[in-house]
Symmetry: C2
């Protein structure tokens, strides 16, 4: 059985979980707090980042969410999520990188640092100015998603893809941390509502990170 | 004909150029300074990052170095660089992410900021403390590469792969900026020497970024 080393608010682990859920690949969760730099975890991944996907019996350790998703795509036929022509696939991968790097850097990373890392590691309060700036940037990103959905059925084209899963993973963490103002983003909201009701998403939404409570609307499909 | 939008010290563009060189794909270079946020460039890539690979006649615009490399790998048969079993391919992609994110974040990004960006954009001198810390981290990264080459013919396994090209691209930029101390890294040095003599690498090494001169050993195969 696969074991996924992760913590509840890791957006990259959420992306992998959504993909495994869509592909019906069974796995168990192993809680890992990468900031503790546990020796056995560093041995698996010197980059000290989640997710890591391990299969003990088959002696496989997969590191890095992009490498893991490509591996699952190559080895599991069900629910292809990097699909279509080479150009379509490039557009899916462009958007995966966009959400993993730009959205994460602008929004999810500063929110995780201010609201989770500071609280757990430094026992310090968040910096309201940094949070406001991250929320402002989240709003710009939602505008971009509105624009994409105005032109396409799904973020990268005509079918659901890894781009949608990646975006939903990042947004769900920012939303948990109270960083998303949905006002005026009806297109993105409708797209995200649909996501929230998928069986692959339900387990993520019901989890909690200790000491941090999400806003009331977080888990509701109709919000 | 493909056009690659890049600037001489962009490590991600260098990775794409090495791959196109190995695969004998013809392209012309278009100089792009992403920090100028040129409108026509932002239209192609709202992330405002190089490289972007464009084919005007075929109406294709490819964005993000990972998406571009996967596209080239899927469409050009010659010189496969993401090769082998699914597990081998996952290891190649793990190391690509390692050099694109960890090495870049620890070494190349601070060096580019201090020695290029500050000079060109802010007309300010570099912070010697930041440079020293980046060099210290470069040394730790070279230790890791020494370790990999002790156990394998190439960074990700028995054959040359995109992991080697990605590492060489990052290292070459750090080396240009005077950030690599080769003392005590004989394995990595021998591996890098071999790279420097490849036809795909020669054009990169002969280029210069205006106002910044590389150290004397930079272009020499025997250094």
């Amino acid at each position: 059985m696969w074991q996924l080393f992760q913590f509840p608010l890791c957006p990259f682990s959420r992306k992998v979980r959504l993909l495994m859920g869509e592909k019906s690949v069974a796995y168990e969760l192993v809680r890992e707090s990468p900031w503790l730099q546990r020796d056995a975890f560093l041995d698996m991944n010197p980059a000290a980042r989640t997710p890591v996907l391990k299969h003990g019996q088959r002696d496989i350790v997969l590191v890095d969410s992009v490498a893991i998703c490509e591996y699952l795509e190559e080895t599991v036929e069900k629910a292809p999520m990097i699909n279509g022509t080479a150009t379509n696939r490039a557009e899916i991968r462009r958007l995966v990188a966009w959400f993993d790097e730009q959205f994460y850097g602008d929004v999810t990373a500063p929110m995780l640092y201010e609201r989770m890392h500071k609280r757990i590691v430094h026992r310090a309060p968040p910096d309201a100015k940094v949070l406001r700036e991250a929320m402002r940037r989240a709003n710009v990103h939602l505008d971009y998603i509105d624009y994409l959905i105005d032109h396409r059925s799904w973020l990268a084209g005509a079918t659901m893809s890894l781009a949608d899963l990646t975006a939903a993973a990042q947004i769900s963490v920012a939303d948990y941390l109270g960083g998303i103002d949905w006002t005026g983003h009806e297109q993105t909201k409708a797209w995200y509502q649909m996501f929230k009701s998928r069986p692959s998403f339900r387990p993520l939404l019901s989890e909690r990170m200790e000491v941090i409570a999400p806003p009331e609307h977080y888990e509701k499909v109709d919000f």
